[in-house]
Symmetry: C2
Subunit: 185 residues, 2 copies
């Protein structure tokens, strides 16, 4: 059902998605989805939770395969971020629904805060490890905030209009930023 919600959000956006559409997409009656979920907000909230976990698992897997080096892990993180299934216009459409409700729905706001906190903590840990590896001092908090914003912005803008810059270019920009982190103060 939450998979059906994700499909609906990807296809029609938040404005074009209704409880009835989700029911049809899931192949059940509208009454059933309302038996399990309060309404659209609840449905989107659970979809956010599930999607957030999926993405975290995907990134964790890529990091595990990258070995122990913080630098390699950071680059693997970037590489995974700018490749399908993460770099996907459909996923952006779903995410836009999350963002849209983050402002107004307290439940979704809480989920958003948790998802992004985990995201940033992961990056901050890797950046701190990178500093140790290279024996340099880095403002880990600000750097993690910056990298999160940079990745989010590149991801968003590429998905919105892939003609402006390629996925490879986005990854190159992020890689270069990490390289600059090693050298610059």
């Amino acid at each position: 059902m939450i998979e059906a919600t994700a499909r609906c959000l990807a296809r029609d956006g938040l404005a074009g998605t209704s409880v009835r559409h989700v029911a049809a997409e899931a192949g059940v009656s509208p009454g059933l989805v309302r038996h399990h979920f309060e309404g659209m907000q609840d449905l989107v909230a659970e979809t956010y939770r599930a999607t957030g976990k999926q993405i975290a698992a995907l990134l964790d897997e890529a990091l595990a395969a990258a070995g122990p080096s913080a630098e390699a892990r950071l680059h693997a993180f970037i590489e995974t971020s700018f490749k399908p299934p993460l770099l996907d216009a459909d996923l952006l459409a779903v995410w836009l629904a999350f963002w849209s409700l983050t402002r107004t729905d307290p439940q979704i706001h809480a989920i958003h805060a948790k998802v992004y906190a985990g995201y940033r903590r992961l990056l901050e840990e890797m950046i701190a490890a990178l500093a140790r590896e290279h024996g340099i001092a880095i403002e880990t908090r600000q750097s993690a905030l910056a990298l999160t914003a940079l990745l989010d912005g590149l991801w968003l803008e590429h998905c919105l209009d892939p003609k402006t810059f390629s996925a490879a270019e986005a990854a190159a920009i992020a890689h270069r930023w990490v390289d600059g982190l090693k050298k610059g103060s």
Copy 2:
């Protein structure tokens, strides 16, 4: 009328905004707004155009007041970006509506491409001027893409959840990035 649309989008989001709501907000009959606009998509498109021009004018004004130095202009750009009225959750809500329709509506996609192209061109020119000022070589295209994404990401994430990091912190991160541009390769 497009002001009424912006207010509706800010208050209720795209999903909660209808032709009838815009009409009520503007104090006219629903038939009238449909006499001037084809529907919601058309309404949002014109709002995008108008809002984009407003923001560009606001930034231009700040740049003019910053003097001729490219470095000062870049920092003024950042400072303006992370202060009201640009740093505003209501503006983000409106912008989320734009982004949401960029994927599906060709007209809005075109407006989006034009707005962001202008945005990036402005940054790229300032970065090129900065390189000349300091007599260094900078990959202006990639740097402009990076700065655009960084600013977009910081702006988005701060508006979504201001508790995570302050506006001053966002500005500091961006300022630091520009400083790094001067030093780092």
